[in-house]
């Protein structure tokens, strides 16, 4: 069953005459992992921003559960339904990992005394120790920051995970661990996972692969199929 759909979607940045992509129609299902591949500047991040409700399409319709994102309360959508891992991470750099994650939980409406423990558990899952969890973001390595961004995207248990180059800064072993998490999220927890990537290792776990070139999306056969 498709959770997320794009129908004839076009997007052009404000002030730019050329559209990044036009008339794109795609659909994403729950319980599946998707990889979006393409050259730098092809529009991968732009697509994820539209899916994550962080920006609205210039034309066409992006819908979640049948409802158009343009018409819905996107605060709520971002806070509860979608989890985004930004290419630029976008963590609150003045705060600690723990604070970033707890804040995300609280914005989504989660309550209670257990949030901190839950956040620490999640951080442990991506390999961040409690000591590092209470350190300021700026005092952590790029790879550590990336994993914290992943943990934050998962903090509020969203149905949709949109990850933009989530393993770019990671070594091979860590990348495997993280990819395993994404795989489990799709296959064991029934989430819809969409990953923009250049990495072959990422495309290897995907159920479906899409490439984008000059604004055109094409389905590519996977090794699994």
């Amino acid at each position: 069953m498709s959770v997320l759909e794009l129908e004839n979607v076009s997007y052009a940045y404000e002030g730019s005459s050329k559209a990044v992509f036009s008339d794109v129609t795609l659909s994403f299902e729950a319980g599946k992992a998707y990889a979006i591949a393409g050259k730098s500047g092809s529009g991968k991040s732009t697509l994820l921003h539209l899916l994550g409700g962080l920006d609205v399409a210039t034309r066409g319709r992006v819908s979640y559960g049948g409802e158009s994102l343009a018409d819905m309360n996107r605060n709520r959508y971002r806070a509860r339904n979608a989890g985004i891992i930004f290419q630029g991470l976008n963590l609150l750099t003045n705060a600690s990992a723990l604070e970033n994650i707890v804040l995300s939980m609280r914005i989504s409406g989660m309550k209670g005394p257990g949030l901190k423990a839950k956040a620490l558990e999640l951080l442990a899952r991506v390999g961040i120790s409690p000591e590092k969890a209470s350190r300021k973001i700026l005092k952590l390595s790029g790879g550590e920051q990336q994993r914290i961004a992943i943990a934050r995207a998962l903090a509020h248990n969203p149905d949709l995970i949109a990850a933009d180059e989530p393993t770019g800064n990671l070594d091979k072993d860590t990348e495997y661990k993280i990819l395993k998490i994404f795989e489990d999220l799709a296959h064991k927890e029934g989430k819809c996972v969409i990953i923009a990537t250049h990495s072959k290792r990422v495309t290897a776990i995907a159920d479906e692969i899409w490439t984008v070139d000059k604004g055109v999306f094409r389905s590519v056969p996977t090794k699994r199929n």
Binding site: L54, Y77, A79, R80, N94, L103
Partner: protein, 453 residues
């Protein structure tokens, strides 16, 4: 639900963004300090000007033009006091008296009263055995519970230091409250000074008898009056007076009518003093017209002390307008600086705002969080600025008043003024903050994050 998390996040941020908040705080502090100093000076001088206007600007003097002129009568004094033009009236009546049973303070021992049949010398020729029976606004004296308030100066005791300093003669006086009274009808009741009471072994409840000196076509007619002592006020020790009836401690204070009514038709001897305060100085002509029609003799001039008023009020009025100009300038500057700082502080936080929006925080919550942070910093700096401004305002005011040749004034700031300043500071910072937050949050989160530089 997210209300508290936005606020909590803001409070955590106060300490995290130390340098920015310190800068914001210092600016707020400086503006508030200057504003408080300016405002307290403005308020103090404004209060004084108002008070002086009420006191001097409109105090009417009825001055006899000829030496032989008869004083105004009690009936006239009361009739004049009923004018619509007046804010207040102080009336007192007095006459010289003596007693066969009471001694006056300063009375020469061994000499018996030697009364001469000449009205001018009645008091002086009693060989200092004379007292003065004074009829004031007894109710007022009792109500205010203060002495030597006795007469026209009753109000001065409750006025500012300035008024007290302006009348040095009263400074050394006694300001103690009158001991408890059995307040009766006032008719034939009196209060006496503690010094007088001690000399004559008087106590509350005692009856005293005095001879009032009145005249009928130039002939002395002594009238005996009985009074009940209803109170004894604690007086300061007497200074030396040329005549004992001039000593305020020798005054037996009774109700206005008790004294005024001693004088019968065709008699003289009761002096009536009346001080009228107009509601505003412009009413002088109207008041004069009214009291002339009520029978004030053309032998009296009706004037206010315009020159004296100018002399006293002028410098303070200058200070008042200078401080107002200062205040307005500061206010404009404060508005500009606070707005600018608030705007810059928020622009600088575009990234943070973008991230919070991307995490799904509502616009209002983002604004609230930033507001709480700014408001908390502003509040702390407001308190500090108030303190510093309060400490500064006295020396500033002293310097300014000294420069303008005026007497020192006690400068302070009322809680209401403090609140006004606080409201101004918070409102300014808030408006600027909300405007810049909404400028930023009107865009989609991704746009905010991309354009953060």
């Amino acid at each position: 639900m997210p209300v508290n998390c936005a606020i909590e996040n803001a409070l955590l941020n106060i300490l995290k963004n130390k340098s920015r908040n310190i800068l914001l705080g210092v600016i707020t502090f400086v503006i508030i300090t200057a504003e408080v100093a300016g405002m307290s000076i403005y308020n103090a001088s404004g209060t004084i000007v108002k008070e002086f206007k009420a006191r001097f600007g409109s105090e009417v003097a009825l001055t006899p033009l000829k030496k032989s002129a008869e004083g105004i009568t009690a009936e006239q004094a009361i009739a004049f006091s009923e004018s619509e033009c007046l804010l207040s009236t102080d009336i007192n009546s007095s006459l010289t008296c003596r007693s066969d049973t009471l001694k006056a303070i300063g009375q020469t021992e061994g000499r018996s009263p030697n009364i001469i049949q000449g009205r001018e010398n009645y008091g002086g020729d009693l060989s200092n055995a004379a007292m003065r029976l004074r009829g004031g606004q007894f109710d007022k004296i009792l109500a205010e519970g203060k002495l030597p308030a006795i007469l026209t100066d009753v109000k001065f005791w409750n006025r500012s230091l300035l008024a007290r300093a302006a009348r040095p003669a009263f400074r050394a006086g006694n300001n103690d409250p009158i001991p408890s009274f059995k307040v009766g009808q006032y008719k034939n009741e009196c209060i006496v000074s503690s010094e007088f009471a001690k000399l004559n072994q008087l106590a509350v409840g005692d009856h005293i008898s005095v001879q009032a000196g009145l005249f009928e076509s130039g002939t002395l007619v002594e009238t005996s009056i009985s009074l009940t002592i209803v109170g004894i006020y604690v007086s300061a020790p007497s200074a030396a007076y040329p005549a004992s009836y001039q000593n305020p401690n020798n005054e037996i204070i009774a109700d206005f009518n008790t004294v005024a009514s001693i004088q019968k038709e065709g008699q003289t001897g009761v002096a009536v003093n009346a001080t009228y305060c107009l509601k505003s100085p412009e009413l002088l002509a109207l008041f004069e017209e009214e009291i002339r029609s009520k029978g004030l003799s053309p032998d009296f001039s009706v004037t206010t002390d315009e020159a004296g008023y100018r002399r006293l009020v002028g410098p303070i009025e200058n200070l008042n307008s200078v401080s107002l100009a200062f205040l307005l300038m500061l206010f404009a500057l404060g508005v500009a600086v606070m707005a600018l700082v608030s705007m810059l502080a928020i622009r600088e936080r575009k990234y943070e705002i973008g991230v919070l929006r991307a995490m799904g925080m509502k616009k209002g919550q983002v604004a609230l969080g930033l507001w709480v942070e700014t408001a908390a910093v502003t509040t702390v700096c407001f308190a500090l600025g108030m303190l510093a401004g309060g400490l500064l305002s006295q020396p500033i005011s002293d310097t300014l008043l000294a420069a303008s040749g005026s007497i020192p004034v006690s400068v302070s700031i009322s809680p209401l003024t403090a609140l006004e300043i606080f409201a101004v500071a918070i409102v300014l910072a808030s408006i600027a903050g909300f405007v810049s937050v909404s400028q930023i949050t009107k865009y989609e989160p991704m746009k905010i994050l991309m354009e953060r530089n």
